[in-house]
């Protein structure tokens, strides 16, 4: 039987039938720049930082596996006369970031003051150092630099 299968090229025709069946199926691909998939709600994308919520505890910097978060702050007296930490610098060396999300996990504030669930994934740039070495202004005002941009607040997508 297998001899006759061979002589009659059944395997060959079977394969051809298989691919031929796909000839008229709809393509499964997405034409990227025009169409884009919506990332899921938990998608780990570009950083966001809420300066108001941040308590400058630097836990995110400590927890970062590759040490790419740099935080400086100083104490200032506020109107109430209390000492308050003021951020000088909140830098993320984004080109090394591997988007593991451990900084977000480490953040003790509720809701989180640093988070990655932002659905922004188009982070390509032409200049290696300038565009990706982020300072706090770029982080907090990211939406002015890259559009379209949606932010999923922590808690929404869980």
């Amino acid at each position: 039987m297998s001899f006759w299968d061979d002589v009659l090229l059944l395997d060959i025709f079977g394969g051809l039938r298989m691919t031929g069946r796909h000839l008229f199926r709809r393509a499964d691909t997405v034409e990227y720049p025009e169409q884009a998939r919506e990332p899921s709600d938990r998608f780990r994308g570009m950083f966001r930082l809420d300066e108001e919520r941040c308590i400058k505890c630097t836990l995110c910097a400590i927890e970062c596996p590759i040490n790419i978060i740099f935080i400086d702050w100083h104490n200032e007296k506020n109107e109430a006369g209390k000492n308050e930490k003021v951020l000088d610098r909140f830098d993320v060396d984004l080109k090394r970031c591997m988007f593991c999300g451990l900084c977000e996990e480490a953040c003790p504030t509720d809701p989180k003051s640093i988070w990655l669930r932002t659905k922004t994934y188009e982070l390509g740039t032409y200049e290696r150092n300038e565009a990706l070495y982020l300072d706090i202004r770029k982080l907090t005002k990211w939406d002015e630099n890259v559009k379209p941009f949606t932010v999923v607040e922590p808690g929404e997508g869980r």
Binding site: N67, F70, D72, D91, D93, R128, N129, Y133
Partner: protein, 232 residues
Amino acid sequence: MAEDAKDAPAAPAAGEPAKPGVPAPATPAAAATPKATPAKAAAPAKAPVPAATDAASEPLVVALAAAVPGAVVSAKKMASQTTIGIAPGKLVEACRHLKDKETFTFLVDLTAVDWKERDPRFDVVYWLHSFDRGNERVRLRVGIKDEQACPTVAGVWETANWMEREVFDLFGISFEGHPDLRRILTWDGFQGHPLRKDFPVEGIDTGAAIYPDRYPEGGGPAPDDKNRKTVS
């Protein structure tokens, strides 16, 4: 060889997994008292913390000690895994015995641990598996001094070939009688052995640089940035 065999029992640390070695920078307290007491578990209380227990009465250990006299230096059990300390001079003999008589035909893993300040400095660790004994596994451990050659087991298990090359490459332990002892992961001509504790994590200057004229080194924060963490 005979000297090695004599040395090993004199250095009880060779068989002591539980001994705190080099302190990790973050926990200086853990390394404050480098004692050789085996049962000293550094982690604070949690209910079922596995602790090392003596395993000298295990049948396998007894059988090995009887078959290859002088081979067994110590025997510990932790997390239900048996570790047998072996004298370097008796290693090949013990391995042959375990493979041929005790059916440990499969060398799962071979690696080394660098206990920087201990003598002997390195532990070479063998992790054996037996299909015929109900998937039993046993770990062998050999204390090797710096600059001392470890006998090769590539003649016992062929798979030890690359693993020993890797240990040679990353720890600088040479294996006596190895058929093809060359560097395997780093390139030929690389200076140093990366997994030794005294090798800097930041790496060493090998003369290779990517566009040093265009980009600052590393591209990140300057070396004198006070936020820049260095770990070693």
